[in-house]
């Protein structure tokens, strides 16, 4: 995981730095100044939010939730799964570990799609660590209203797709 993404990012930063230095006129200095100001805004909050998220993830009763996500639960499984994704304040390591727990407990494909989509859109740690410090509450409000329906839509579309294709239960192998 450390691999490609980080190398690409460092590469982009290096290219931009070279371009800024070539342009001269204090471009590089202004960029660095901006970076420091954003860091001051972000880093202290981020550390607290990350620690909080670690605790909350431990408090999530994932095996209990898994019982309500089976195929027979249909649409309500999608709603419950979307709710669980909403409440999981953790990065991909924990989110996908939880998804695997759900999958092994025979959660429906649609519920898994709803869970992962909901987590990816609403991961609470990301909201607190990045979105509010960098874009503000009014952006969060607009975004939440705009994407509220999306995890359910994703689950329903997956359920419809399930009428045409049959997938093996994921997370088993």
């Amino acid at each position: 995981m450390t691999g490609v993404g980080f190398i690409v990012l460092v590469g982009i930063a290096a290219v931009l730095a070279a371009m800024a230095l070539a342009r001269g006129g204090g471009t590089f200095g202004r960029g660095m100044k901006r970076a420091f100001e954003q860091a001051a805004q972000l880093v202290p909050r981020m550390v607290c939010a990350l620690i909080a998220a670690g605790f909350v993830a431990k408090l999530m009763p994932s095996t209990m939730i898994a019982r309500y996500l089976g195929d027979d639960a249909g649409f309500s499984a999608i709603v419950i799964a979307a709710g669980a994704g909403l409440l999981l304040p953790a990065g991909p390591v924990i989110a996908f570990a939880v998804a695997a727990v759900f999958a092994r407990a025979d959660a429906s494909i649609a519920a898994l799609v709803a869970f992962i989509t909901s987590w990816s859109l609403f991961a609470a740690h990301r909201i607190f660590m990045y979105e509010i410090p960098m874009l503000g509450v009014s952006f969060l409000r607009l975004r939440a209203a705009s994407v509220a329906i999306v995890p359910i839509l994703a689950g329903v579309l997956a359920m419809l797709a399930g009428l045409f294709v049959t997938l093996a239960q994921p997370g088993q192998g």
Binding site: L16, G26, C48, A52, F55, A99
Partner: protein
């Protein structure tokens, strides 16, 4: 919210000021005030409450495990955050704002949503780079629908995330199904965002002054 916002009010005099800023104690004090303002204490309180709940409900071992994981995660994240912030800072001063506005501005229509969705899918790196770029775009006059489509596409469909996490954990078949099913959803979210009558206040500084 005051000390760091005035940077952007000057476009030409910035060169001289950027050079002196690093030697200016008032600027450093301003950074400290920004970093440890009211928001920070709220976050700290939340972390302490969550930690106490974890300790009391699940026990000391889980508490220690969570704390240990967090420290490791922070150490791994630090270099990425630094690289992403440098990238965003340099983009901020070098990105041609008018061209961005033309591409994904308020007049950009469906094409703007498409551009934003694709940009979100291919943005490399984690949330630090995506949100830093989002803040730059927001302050550059990007359309609200495009902003929502961009960050939604990054979150749901970011190719790097799909390849590194979805496929190994959930299998290629399931991941492909999820990606296909989710493909139209950033557009829909963007269209909804354009129609929702909610006020969006993005200060000229791309996030520093929003409240």
């Amino acid at each position: 919210m005051t000390t760091t916002t005035e940077v952007e009010s000057e476009e030409d005099g910035g060169a001289a000021r950027a050079d002196t800023a690093f030697r200016d104690p008032a600027w450093w004090m301003g950074l400290l005030r920004t970093g440890f303002g009211r928001g920070f204490w709220g976050f700290l309180a939340f972390a302490m409450i969550a930690g106490a709940a974890c300790y009391l409900v699940i026990g000391e071992a889980a508490f220690r495990a969570a704390l240990g994981d967090d420290v490791g995660l922070l150490a791994r994240m630090a270099p990425r955050v630094a690289a992403a912030l440098v990238t965003a800072g340099l983009l901020w001063v070098m990105l041609p704002r008018d061209r961005v506005t033309r591409l994904i501005g308020t007049e950009s229509g469906m094409r703007g949503l498409a551009v934003a969705t694709i940009a979100g899918m291919v943005t490399p790196g984690g949330p630090t780079s995506a949100f830093a770029l989002l803040a730059v775009l927001a302050a550059s006059g990007a359309d609200r629908g495009a902003l929502i489509a961009y960050i939604s596409a990054w979150a749901m469909l970011g190719l790097q995330r799909v390849l590194v996490w979805d496929v190994p954990f959930m299998g290629a078949e399931f991941s492909a199904l999820r990606v296909i099913v989710c493909l139209p959803l950033p557009f829909i979210a963007g269209l909804i965002a354009r129609r929702i009558p909610l006020k969006l206040e993005i200060a000229g500084s791309g996030g520093n002054g929003v409240r």
